[in-house]
Structures are given as C-alpha cells and as structure tokens.
C-alpha cells in the first residue's frame, strides 16, 4: 500500500490544483484545452502562466525531494513524434485529455467524459499491447 502513497498524494495535489483553478479563475484545468487556447493566442497571459507553473512543478519537486522525478523513456524519437501528433490531434478532436475529461469530467459525472475516458483507456491498452508485441 505504501508503494502507492506517492501516487495517491500526487493525485490529490492534481485534484486540489484543478479544484482551485475552478474556484479562483472559473476555469477547467484541461491541459490540452489550455495549450490549444495558448496556440490560438486566446487569453495568452493566463494560459501561459498556468503552463509556466506546470514546468515549475518538477523544479519544486526537486527542491522538496532532493532529486528529479524518475523518467524512463525507451521509445525512439520518431515514435515520440508520432505519439505527440496523435495526442495533439486527438485531444483537439475529442475536446480533452486525461485532465479535462479524466479528472474534472469524471468528478462532474459528465457522460461525455466517461465515454472519452473509456475510449482513450481502451486505445492506450491496445497501443501498449502493440508495442509489446513488436518488442518495444
């Protein structure tokens, strides 16, 4: 159980951040939406501030924990690039990602978000199965 404590606490911090953004600014903490609006040039200062904060997060972690969080990336760069394209295109088409649909949408009991989460989880499981079967 203690192995999952950082995951649970980290998740609770994510939920707290999303709740605070709604209470303070009236905005849903959907990261793909925030990046999309930034790319469109809408409400740039506020959206850029949120993204700057996101980048600050791991730096704060380093200050508190004494080291960077573990990151293991095995995928070659062309696969990373293809994955990025799919994530950008797909989140725009599906109006959200793990944060907007996964955290805020599920908490709001939104039927659209339940459908979106089911869809991206199934596709994610299939993608990893595909990677494993091709030896990556």
């Amino acid at each position: 159980m203690t192995a999952y404590l950082p995951a649970l606490l980290g998740g609770m911090l994510i939920g707290l951040a999303a709740a605070l953004l709604l209470v303070l600014n009236g905005r849903v903490a959907g990261i793909s939406g925030i990046v999309g609006r930034l790319a469109e040039g809408s409400n740039v200062a506020v959206n850029a501030a949120f993204v700057a904060g996101l980048l600050l997060g791991p730096v704060l972690y380093r200050g508190l924990a004494g080291g960077w969080p573990a990151v293991t990336i095995t995928a070659p760069l062309p696969l990373i690039a293809a994955a990025g394209l799919l994530v950008g295109f797909g989140t725009r088409m599906g109006s959200g990602c793990t944060s907007g649909h996964g955290v805020v949408g599920l908490a709001r009991l939104s039927p659209r978000s339940f459908a979106a989460v089911a869809s991206f989880l199934v596709a994610g499981v299939l993608a990893v199965a595909l990677l494993r079967s091709s030896g990556l």
């Binding site: 911090l13 009236g26 469109e40 506020v46 996101l54 791991p58 994530v87 599906g94 996964g102 805020v104």
Partner: protein, 144 residues
C-alpha cells in the same frame, strides 16, 4: 494586463501545484504510464491511485463551487455544456489514447517534463501543438 494579475498569479500557482502533483505521482515517467496500460504484462496499478485521488479531491471542490455565486477572480464559471456523446468525441479520444500508449505521455506530464531538459518531451510537445494546429486547419477548412 493588471486587471488580469490575480488570474495570472492564481494560474501560475495552480499550474505549479498541478506540476508538483504530476512529479510526485509518477505520471512524468512514460514507463510507469505504459506499465499501467500494460494489462497483459506486468500491470502497475499506481495510476489508478493518481486518478482516484485527483477525482476525489476535485469532486469535493465541486461541492464548494456549487455554493459559490462566482469564482474569486472571474465573472463566472466556464464549464463545458452537456452535449451528447458523438463520433468526434470517441474517435478523437481513441486517437489520443493511441498516442498516449505509444509515447507514454499525455499533455500535462509532457509539458512538466520539459523542465528535465531532455529531447523527448520537447519533440513530443512540438508535435502535439502541430497536431492541434493540423486538426484546426483541417476542420476549419471543411467548415468553410
């Protein structure tokens, strides 16, 4: 600009808290994310705790929001309308899930991981923004 200063500062603080949560939770690690999606292999359930913790706290926040007339620093709450589930939602989310599984990154962790100074998050984020722009060009053209 100064009118938006409280919003800018609270966005910065919420982003930092979100990013700290991502770093603590293990979400920045594509290997962990792929381990969670690897149902047929050595399944790592930790991401279920991340999502569970986040949804639970967010749900408590929504209880508070329902009692508030308006947000602290804005005129009103911007919550998406309840529209029906449609093909674009399901197909778009499936494409996102495919990319999430292949790369092990979703948008938030990819952005936060830029701080680590590695090439992969930078390539991922650049292509992610390109994918968003590509989507909007394609569908704006179709509509126009």
């Amino acid at each position: 600009m100064t009118r938006f200063l409280p919003q800018i500062l609270s966005a910065l603080a919420c982003g930092a808290l979100f990013g700290l949560g991502l770093a603590l939770s293990g979400m920045l690690d594509p290997a962990r994310v792929q381990g969670f999606l690897d149902l047929a292999g050595a399944w790592d359930p930790s991401l279920a705790f991340v999502l569970g913790g986040a949804v639970a706290v967010m749900a408590l926040g929504l209880v508070l929001v329902r009692r508030l007339a308006r947000p602290a620093f804005a005129e009103g709450f911007h919550l998406p309308d309840t529209r029906p589930v449609d093909r674009r939602l399901i197909l778009g989310s499936a494409l996102f899930g495919l990319g999430w599984g292949l790369g092990g990154f979703c948008p938030g962790p990819a952005l936060a991981a830029l701080s680590l100074g590695r090439a992969e998050p930078l390539v991922f984020v650049t292509c992610m923004v390109a994918g968003m722009v590509l989507h909007d060009r394609l569908f704006a053209r179709r509509a126009g």
